[in-house]
Symmetry: C2
Subunit: 351 residues, 2 copies
């Protein structure tokens, strides 16, 4: 229970220290306890939430940099809280679509309580007390990464039954869902990941036909030829660099590459050069960058598809939940060394 | 007039010497005079043509290599004639769609007369004696490069009125047509080329809004920022390498890159690495390789669009015609050093 200070309560926060180059370190963030009024200012359309679950997303590293990166987001301000996607409970609302007691997901601060002024970006969660779908899923499979996987799979890559599908970073929040969509569609799907445990997860729990540890392969081209003797129809790109170069050599005619991210490249001062782009012309490859931001209109359709799959256990989802706001910086930093096992979440409070 | 030898006539040919690495040299081909019967073998569906105009296309370098390159073509055989797209007059035909006297375009040999066994690939030219559209145009603007430009512009890049369009190798057979389609559509279009004369052609004859000589630019990124202060919506890619890397930095959100070829890379033992592919994810760029091969069904629609433009002089087309089969090897080799000025054609005979 929050400590009350006059008409304010105490509010633990994860503060962004200063702009970073390369991947963030734990010391780029620090904890501070401030205070907050649990009321929305008069006449404002803001929404005041108690944060329950915070999402750790690769995207957040860009918010910590001064230059470069996708430019349709706000970036962090040194001395202010880190923010990202999260699930919260509405305590007070100036926006007609939300009222106290509602559960919502969207952009929120890394703190116990947040006053969300851009409340139009929030999405109300339909959740009943007896619902067996965990609320934390709305940071992942039912939130931004889920939307990303859905858009990437059905709108961008669009593999058909019988096609050969490859997913990199396949045990991550987006990859694990894409692989399962591929199996539900009747594709042959192979995933790459960075540890034996992740490879086992892909093969034994998530239903991938094959999986391999890219760190154990001397030549990714040879590895891909082993798993795809007939080539790759659709590649879901999350890593970039050498993997992309090897994939290009193994694409089939009219193959598609859905580019969600290139996490292997983000921390490099100079990005690796991709040498096999001639294949795009030779094989009429279709490569497309995408983001969930363009697909929000499909969110209800997405839920209609995925919620039954989750309830029927036709889709499995693996989360790595760090307990407490204090564990946030380490959890976030762990994303970039592959320390997380499944979708990385920070639990701030359970209700 | 061909020398008659028994029931055969003499047939001058350009012979492919042996597989090449890198760009072809004149010495990779030689002239030989053989003989040919001007009759299609009994029961065959072949077509016998007298070749009039032969097309020099960048594509042909791949047919000279043992490995690599697009794989939906036949490759050259050492000791046999070079082949490529051309215009010919039918002398005899075993195929019901063609008869003596017809004019056709399609894959033919670099020789005076060719027996075309894959006659199903030939297209009949609707040409009357008083037609003011030159027959040689069916090697270019009305043939394969024209189809390529049409498909690239209307089906792949699909720029809309007011969009910012960039074309590399803009004075080439495909580029010059794409630029003119862009102007007819109401786009702002800039082209790059490799000499002052070509830049003048683009600006003064072909109606490009701007053009620049890439060889005179120290930093292609800066050059592109000068011509595209608001960025590029659609890039028509014909060169690859450093130009592509600079273009990626200057693309707008949802930009499209139509990949027709990457001529700067074909002769390199090791291809240049492209470092700015992260922009594909950041800006939701859509990059697509294509070829005319997938768009033959649109050929009648393409002619309906382009023939009136040519007759009304709303589209200008520049050819560089080398006279005589003997000039063929030098003309073909000149493509790769940029010696040609407009579409390179070899005139074997005028009728």
């Amino acid at each position: 229970m929050a400590r009350v200070v006059g008409d304010e309560v105490s509010n633990k926060q994860v503060i962004f220290r200063d702009y970073v180059t390369g991947f963030p370190k734990e010391s780029d963030m620090y904890l501070r306890t401030g205070t907050i009024k649990l009321k929305v200012p008069e006449g404002s359309k803001a929404v005041l939430v108690k944060n329950l679950y915070l999402s750790c997303d690769p995207l957040m590293q860009f918010f910590m940099r001064k230059v470069q990166g996708p430019d349709r987001y706000d970036y962090y301000t040194p001395g202010s809280p880190v923010f990202g996607y999260g699930v919260g409970k509405v305590l007070d609302s100036g926006h007609p679509d939300f009222k106290a007691g509602d559960l919502v997901w969207g952009m929120t601060g890394w703190e116990e309580y947040s006053l969300i002024t851009k409340s139009e970006g929030l999405i109300k969660i339909q959740h009943t007390p007896d619902d067996d779908v965990p609320l934390s899923y709305y940071t992942g499979i039912l939130g931004m990464p889920g939307m990303t996987a859905y858009a990437g799979f059905y709108e961008v890559g669009a593999p058909k039954k019988g096609e050969y599908v490859f997913v990199s970073a396949a045990s991550g929040a987006v990859g694990q869902l894409i692989g399962q969509f591929a199996k539900l569609t009747g594709c042959y799907v192979v995933g790459s990941a960075g540890s034996k445990e992740k490879v086992d997860l892909l093969k034994n729990e998530l239903g991938f036909d094959e999986a391999f540890n890219y760190k154990e392969e001397h030549d990714l081209n040879i590895a891909l030829k082993r798993y795809f003797p007939h080539g790759i129809d659709v590649y879901f790109e999350h890593v970039g660099g050498k993997m992309l170069d090897a994939v290009l050599l193994n694409m089939r005619h009219n193959g598609r590459i859905a580019v969600c991210g290139m996490i292997s490249q983000y921390n490099l001062e100079e990005h690796e050069g991709i040498k096999n782009l001639l294949q795009i012309g030779f094989k009429w490859i279709h490569m497309k960058g995408y983001t969930h931001l363009n697909y929000y209109h499909l969110y209800p359709k997405f839920l209609d598809l995925v919620l039954p799959y989750i309830r029927e256990k036709k889709i499995v989802y693996v989360e790595d939940i760090a307990e407490g706001l204090e564990s946030g910086p380490a959890a976030l930093v762990g994303l970039f060394t592959g320390r997380n096992f499944g979708k990385q979440v920070v639990a701030v409070a359970r209700e």
